[in-house]
Amino acid sequence: MEVKSSEETVEPKDVIPLLGPGHSFSTITEKISSIVLTRYTPISLFIGIGIAFIIMNLLMATVTNLLFTGVGIWGINVPVGWGFDIINFVWWIGIGHAGTLISAILLLLGQKWRNSINRFAEAMTLFAVACAGMFPLLHTGRPWFAAYWLFPIPNTMAIWPQFRSPLMWDVFAVSTYASVSLLFWYVGLIPDLATMRDRAKNRFVKIIFGMMCFGWRGSARHWVRYETIYNLLAGLSTPLVLSVHTIVSFDFAVSVIPGWHATIFPPYFVAGAVYSGFAMVLTLMLPARAIFRLHDLVTVRHVENMAKVMLVTGLFVFYGYNMEAFMAWYSGSKYEKFMMYNRMTGPYGLFYWALIFCNGVVPQILWVKKIRQNVIVLWVISIIVNVGMWLERFVIVPTSLHRDFLPSSWGMYWPTIWDWGMFIGTMGFFLFLMILFVRFLPMIPIFEVKTLLPESKVHHHEG
């Protein structure tokens, strides 16, 4: 990996380093691999996975009922055809944005602070996309057909999907994103998997990691190929970060419904996605850092940088809210105006103001450096932002639908226990996968953290 050493030397004194003091190649390897290989699993992890498993079963129960009974178990109705299903889809897919952004864009921009958090964020991305991916399929009335009719599979009837439909684009956008993210994550894992193989004492574990690392030996040729493919994938992922949520926003922007039909949606959705993604990384990373005592690998500098990204994207999003309101007025359309007025003062008005509070007001305290460095406050803010981003989708989806053009068909939407079951269930599923990940795979890229050591630079200078 090419690192400009000059940058390293001019770093101001008061900047918190990206790596704690006293680390060498071996201590880093030891510290990270021991979580998987030698250390006792903390009791909190057992409790966590137990809870996650129970909640995940709520998902199983809900999906079973859903498949047997139909989407009528949810609270959706005719003006509001989409409810929690699409809210949660968009929410999860937004959360799934941080990983690729951190891994790919920051890699290409040479932001070294990404190195200790990228794998964690990527794993989170994958699992969030897995949760998100469930909704578009299961929200359909007949998922057994939707599962393959949405793909352009040649057939004797010569029936193709509707290529003009944003839902169709979604299928491609999300599946491409999911597969590239998976590849990217896995490729990044390979050198570390080899490390695990080498360090494992247990023969069975050795074999498993051995198979997973595809025979990585760490030769120079391997490293050259690795660098090439990793950078290629990073280049490939970068546009995807922008495209996925842009296309998700098209689900709304392409329609004619006031509150959906807005050109501001693509950038505003992408910013929102990054915003919620970073919030979720913080929400999960901070406890993991405490549990596994990774304070020297994930330092306050990392945390603060993430807080800064949150602040910036939060401002984008807040700008988006204000522009929506402005455009509603500026458009001169009575439907747009009514939509905004209804959002603010209608039956769901409380949600709108809660959204403004969570996403617009609360993040402003991140301007204060002390707060950015206060892990506990940051964790609370990250959760508020997550709630806020969920509320944003709630405000967009049902609030726009519930009162559109003809007053005769105005209605209300409220979730049923099955809506909640599916939502909370996916959280359990997500948490379950996340805990498995931190326990069984090196959650911090060992070899990339090593590049932060002075030793790696010496080598570089000499070479």
């Binding site: 139909g70 005719v78 359909t140 009335g141 949405l150 419904i257 053009f405 209605g411």
Partner: protein, 1035 residues
Amino acid sequence: MDNTNQPPKNDLIDLASIRARLSKEQGKVYWQSLEAISGNPQFEELAKQEFPDNTEVWIDPFSRRKFMKIMAASLAFAGAAACNLPTERLIPNEKIIPYVKPPEEIVYGKPLFFATVIPFAGSATGVLVESHMGRPTKIEGNPDHPASLGASDVLGQASILNLYDPDRAQTCSYLREGKSWGAFVGALSEALEARRQKGGEGLRILTRATSSPTLASQMKSILAAFPKAKWHQYEPAISDSTRAGAQLAYGEPVNTIYNLAKANVVVSIGSDFLAQGPAALRYAREFGQRRRSSAEKVLRMYTVESTPTNTGSSSDHRLPLKPSEVAGFAQALASALGVAGVSNSGADNAAYKNWVSALTKELQENKGTSLVVAGSGQPAIVHALAHAMNQTLGNVGNTVSYTDSPEYHPDGFTGYTDSLKELVKDMEAGAVDMLVIVSGNPVYDAPVDLNFAQAMSKVALRIHYSSYYEETSELCHWHVPESHYLESWSDARTFDGTASIVQPLIAPLYPTKSIHEFFAAFTDQKDRTSYEIVRSYWQTQFANDFENVWRKSLHDGVIAGTAYASKTVSLKADAFASASLPKSTGVEIVFAPDPTVYDGRFSNNGWLQELPKPLTKITWDNAVIMGPAMAQRLGVTRTYGNSGGEHGRSYVDMVEIKYQGRTLKAATWILPGHPSDCVTLHLGYGRKKAGRVGNGTGFNAYSLRTSGEPWSGGEVQVVKVNETFEIACPQGQEVLHGREHDILRSSTYEAYKSGKSEEGKESKGHHEEKKEAEESVEHLSMYPEDEHKYPGYAWGMSIDVGNCIGCNACVMACQSENNIPVIGKDQVLRGRHMHWLRIDRYYTDNGHDEPLDNPEAYFQPVPCMQCENAPCEVVCPVNATNHSAEGLNDMVYNRCVGTRYCSNNCPYKVRRFNFLQYADFTTGSLKLLNNPDVTVRSRGVMEKCTYCVQRINYARVEAEKENRSVKDGEILTACQSVCPTEAIVFGNINDKESKVSKLKAEQRNYSMVEDLNTKPRTTYLAALRNPNPELNKKG
């Protein structure tokens, strides 16, 4: 009487002789039971009673094979899951004559139409019934029938569902135990024999209103055989005051017929004549014709009423008054018009003073071309006043004519309530020992003060004949199931006396009996079929050329020349001498037949239960309807629930009504335009034994209704109780939120014809408006202009908002034609009702000071707009909704995966989604109901109006076979064909000469939410009203 019920004694079977006979038979011998082959005459007698139709096969050894065949078919049918029923079984044995095409033989897949009439509440409406492979599936109006003129109403449309209702009574029963018809006939004969000596003393027969000449003649002969027996009639929803009013005015109970075609000014005094009553369809048709913008002189209509009705809401002026004030208004108007003998007291009542003066002027200017109509719920005096006003204005002979009543009554009949009262009195006195209740349900619907059930319990033998095992059946010994009118032969006269034959389309689904067969059991010809009975009656009427008359009558659906001649009547001089008006006493209550379930007889009909009521839009319940002012005073409110909300779930406060010492706790509903200090409660709800659909819906108005004041009364106490009730109402919003121009345009004829709209409302005339809209919108498209061409047909629809009276017939027709499922109250509460075509009701301020108390109401039918730039099509990811070459938005159910995106993106919200498995795939009898030309949708599939594409395809195929193009008017969509006012017109818009093109060329044509540039094929004609400028002034 029980003897016939006993199984035959064992000594009937002579084993030795059977053995002997079997040994003589050659080949295989099949037998059903030992009795069957014993050849015993007693057994044969028994068999005759059990299977009257089939006895000859049964006894005749040579047709045993045929018998087995019939039995097998019956058994297969009883299993009833079968879709592929043997058609020979379904078609009635007797010859029935199809309406248009003769059935050389049934062509598979081709429907046949048969003319018949629906006998209903002492009248009849002519219909054509569509039959697919022997199954009746759809009711249409009969253009040749005077009460239909091609239109059809909600009750008629929905009546077909009752035929297939799995909750129908399916067998005779004695104390709930299933019995055979034979057993009943045996018991009946015995009971009658016991009374024959005493001339039938103690025998009472209670029927509903009837206009069947055959039934009348049957009753005559039964009463002749049992001279001391008595025939009573009761009909809860027919007002006696109509008859009493005619009696009061003319000294005889004449039948009144209106002719709106000749009327320029119509004043309705509490009458919903456009939607209720035997001739409503005809009046609505005439009304519609006189309200077109092309009409030479547009009719102007005024309504004075209490409960807002379709008629009142379609009027140019509506005055809400309490029931007692309505009578006062009638008197004041009559007095002002100079009707002799009417006092002018109360003429200066501020509530209607300016109306009386304006109407007097207008009516006197239109002598001979005006019309005053009194509502059936009004007291007799109001009817008499209306007759007198029509006489004074010279309308009789022009817009009003009189005939004999088409109904048949017992001798000495003075009214339904009186007749029932007399029966109850006799029962209480112990003078009745055998009561036969035919088709009615008096235990449920008799006036509460008569205590009918209690009086009935004193009768020794109680027989109930009805289609359902209902409240009355529970308290009777015998119950005999009634055949549906589509299963039995009968006849009926309609409002003008025109008689028709009721011809069945299907053999009875269950061993039920027609009313004529039931009464035949009272005579010595017990096993006569209704076909023989009806035929033999008409044979006596048309001795010459009977066969031709019969054939033609069956074919046409009317018996030519049977209409009654109009009568000349003269007003009694002392008509109003002893007249007294109802006094206004505190809060008043109005009882009225329900717009959907009528008097409760349709309670178990899911279509009707789920049909939003015209003004309240409530489904599945009734409620105490009150005006906003009264609700405010009582503190009664309505809030919308979270789920469904304005589109489904409403929480309303409950009240307790105290009336004449009885109380009823019921939900409330606030209805703009309802007068204050007055509540309305519709009949027909709160049933306990209606069936699975109707049980437990709504609140029983009969528990308050007395024989003295069946339609309205005073001194009502309404107290709010601390409870709420969930009401399923699919349209919560009542106003247009400033979107009038986009959604529902209205103006006046005067403004329209002079090229400018009503002052204040619109600054531009419709012409300019349209031109501007064309310039700004129509040419703006991202697609090249000629990208989408419709070279062949281009289907389009025009809906005249002004002509829609909100009668719901189109909604019901659509449900019937398109196999639209019933989803139940719970799902409607969740905002998921399934009607492809809905009628939106909006209120606007009509310049009154208190728009809530008297708003102007508009009805707007909303089917799929079939947009050319359809927002639904582009968003479907699987191409399940497509644009056809003829411009329809086709819905491919097979392909739909149910993302619901199309519905979200539909600006008109006309798409409906099967959130759960709504279509009934399991109930055998309901499968027979389905239109085979329309897919029955499964769970997870979106559905919507298709312009009845099955009808379009049928006509196109027919036209192609004849090498011609489809003619204008050849395709009638289901909604269009039933519409009584002809507000819906469908056709080819490529044909500039078609009716629909001409309507679309009118300047008042507009499309809904035009600015979206969806280019809907369904466009609207702005509502035009014809207000009286004098009354239109504020204050």
